[in-house]
């Protein structure tokens, strides 16, 4: 047996690859296929699906016309679900914008420090990656809470008379998402900026370009791969986020993630949840594939 493995390259390959292939096919690809199947059948009464399966396009039609469902009332907004999708995409863009707007100058700042400082600051950027996401979200929640530190402070210095509602609204969700995903933006941009040759800026300056023009014409184009990577790395998880809108939005802000989650909780409409998950996945994959097509192998390696 052992000798057989020593002799045969094919046997070695099968031995090495089969556990990974089997596990991923069984617990990742097959579940996705099942989800695809379930998104095309009718719902069961209390979750699950109707047996024997009845094929239908209802779950996708409902997404584009919320009133198509037999359960809809008289005051029904046909664009309810599409609106939530649009809303999530908008939140994701706002969050991505702020992550890049704050993260790019930070990456530049870090890259200009002396090596020791640079490493120390980068460790500060990396620590949140390894910290429990729930714990971080909770840390922000307790600061913004009605009886939290920020409100007490503002009332203490007599800036406000009664506590502000800083939680359970879209502002809170945005802040929470920026808080959660800012480090994701810094890492790829830092990788890009660190490799940038800063003498090019001096060259541009010597050739008469004012700093802003040197930045726009030289530095930004050359560090753009990092910015685009940051865009993808923030946008993708934010658009499908569940934990932050649920905790910071307190059930009042609906995003795709919370909407999908509800189909498996109170709404008990599993097939509809499956169809929305698929649409979300396709949405995200389009973004990722566009990114991979546009970026070169080299820039991806840099990450």
């Amino acid at each position: 047996m052992v000798n057989y493995f020593r002799r045969s390259k094919v046997a070695q390959l099968y031995g090495l690859i089969s556990p990974g292939v089997l596990w991923i096919l069984l617990f990742f690809n097959l579940p996705l296929l099942i989800m695809l199947f379930i998104s095309f059948v009718e719902r069961g009464r209390a979750g699950g699906i109707k047996l024997p399966p009845v094929y239908t396009l209802e779950n996708y039609r409902q997404l584009f016309n919320a009133c198509a469902s037999a359960f809809s009332g008289p005051e029904c907004d046909p664009f309810l679900y599409i609106g939530i999708f649009g809303h999530s995409v908008r939140i994701a863009f706002v969050v991505t914008f702020w992550c890049i707007a704050l993260g790019y100058p930070l990456s530049y700042f870090i890259s200009r420090q002396k090596p020791l400082w640079r490493d120390a600051l980068m460790i500060l950027v990396i620590i949140p990656f390894w910290t429990n996401f729930l714990v971080r979200t909770y840390a922000l929640k307790q600061v913004l809470a009605t009886e939290g530190l920020l409100n007490s402070f503002l009332m203490g210095v007599n800036l406000i008379n009664q506590p502000l509602d800083l939680l359970f609204n879209e502002f809170a969700v945005n802040i929470g998402l920026i808080y959660g995903y800012l480090p994701f933006a810094v890492l790829p941009m830092y990788a890009s900026i660190e490799k940038f040759d800063h003498s090019l800026m001096e060259a541009a300056s010597d050739l008469g370009a004012p700093p802003w023009r040197a930045f726009l014409r030289v530095m930004l184009p050359m560090t753009l791969p990092g910015v685009i990577a940051a865009l993808v790395l923030v946008f993708v998880p934010v658009v499908g986020a569940f934990i932050t809108p649920d905790i910071m939005g307190g059930g009042k802000i609906e995003m795709i993630g919370t909407l999908i989650n509800r189909q498996f909780g109170v709404s008990r409409n599993w097939p509809f949840g499956a169809s929305m998950s698929l649409v979300l996945m396709v949405l995200v994959l389009i973004g990722v594939i566009a990114y991979f097509r546009s970026s070169s192998e080299e820039t991806r390696r840099a990450m």
Partner: protein, 378 residues
């Protein structure tokens, strides 16, 4: 030079300096703002975990009562134990499978190689909730009905389904980390080993594996952290009774803000920082740190085994299960003894600051191992 300045009038030096000075202030201010934003809430969280009243806004006095109430919370201890169990099994399997897959993908050429490579990245890029839903549907609508109809077995969700799912989403992360390490691998070292008469297996064991170790340990720590922290996939694959740490915290956090959560969060933060430290030293430091971790882990487990054995002997009740566990843990001491020699050799080649860091690594690993063992076999 002069001909060029005629075409592009040079900006006065003074103005350039002024702009950079303001620019530096702005950059520094932005950095302070961002780091303040990222770390102040965490700092406040830690401070108020030591408050002696229930307030998380006014600090009235120092107290550690919330930590003591944590240690007595049975529900929490159960959840922590479950998390550790799921996390360790996940780490072992995901690290093993991920490493094997990385080796196969980097060292062999075969059909569908690029397709499978892309497929391995998918679990990383698709939203976690999608994977959670897919697994929920898979277990409840496909696997369990299948087991019922074909074998007459009744499948249920529980810690085992959580573990299987965690392994599935951790394999890609280990794969990516180990493969990056393999891509930078200097293959002439393997050729040298072959030239010196080592066969393929010896080369792998004595050359390839030790050089890959930092990547493998980095991947393992990553897998462990991801598994311990995961809420979404766990929430969709969990059973009715058992919960894990994130599920327990989530239920608390949704209810409100209390100093107990602050204390619990602080404990978790300490754990995370320890893990990051270990991971970074494993990946960027030399072999002395990986050896230090091995020594530390063995030391922690072994000392727990020793403590437990004393208690077992003094109480006079020799239950076979307890004895086996203690003996297993004592075997950790033998392991330490063996790895300690290698560690000492490496230590001799390290400079002063490196030696201090290595001993700190031993200490942290030992503390982590002792704590986990204590929690686990309590």
């Amino acid at each position: 030079m002069s001909a060029r300045s005629a075409v592009f009038p040079a900006y006065p030096r003074q103005q350039v300096r002024l702009t950079t000075r303001i620019g530096n202030w702005l950059l520094g201010g932005n950095a302070a703002l961002v780091f303040g934003f990222l770390y102040l809430p965490v700092l406040i969280l830690v401070i108020f975990s030591f408050n002696n009243t229930r307030s998380v806004a006014v600090f009235t006095g120092f107290s550690t009562e919330w930590y003591f109430s944590l240690a007595k919370n049975v529900e929490l201890l159960d959840a922590a134990r479950n998390s550790l169990l799921v996390g360790s099994i996940t780490t072992v399997f995901a690290t093993l499978i991920g490493t094997l897959t990385a080796l196969a993908m980097e060292r062999y050429r075969f059909k569908l190689r690029t397709t499978f490579d892309a497929n391995l990245y998918l679990p990383i890029v698709i939203p976690e909730i999608v994977m959670g839903i897919a697994l929920l549907l898979f277990f409840n609508q496909a696997l369990f009905p299948f087991l019922q109809n074909v074998f007459g077995l009744r499948g249920t969700t529980g810690l085992h389904t959580i573990t299987m799912s965690h392994i599935a989403f951790d394999i890609p992360f280990v794969y990516v980390i180990v493969r990056a390490r393999l891509a930078d691998f200097d293959r002439s070292l393997e050729e040298a080993a072959a030239d010196l008469g080592a066969d393929e297996w010896q080369t792998f064991k004595r050359v390839t594996l030790p050089l890959l170790m930092p990547g493998i340990i980095g991947g393992a720590l990553m897998a462990f952290t991801l598994s311990l922290d995961d809420y979404l996939i766990t929430a969709f694959t969990k059973g009715i009774r058992e919960q894990t740490m994130p599920l327990y915290i989530y239920s608390l956090v949704r209810r409100g803000v209390t100093p107990e959560i602050n204390a619990l969060s602080t404990a978790l933060l300490l754990g995370s920082i320890g893990l990051v430290g270990l991971s970074l030293t494993a990946q960027s430091g030399g072999p002395v740190y990986t050896k230090a971790m091995s020594v530390g882990a063995g030391l922690g487990l072994g000392s727990y085994g020793l403590l437990g054995l004393f208690r077992l002997l003094s109480s006079g009740e020799l239950t076979p299960g307890g004895l086996v566990i203690r003996l297993l843990l004592l075997a950790a001491f033998v392991w330490v003894w063996r790895s300690y020699r290698g560690f000492r050799e490496e230590l001799a080649d390290t400079n002063r600051s490196g030696r201090i860091l290595a001993w700190i690594t031993v200490f942290i690993s030992a503390a982590a191992a002792l704590l986990s063992a204590a929690l686990f076999f309590l």
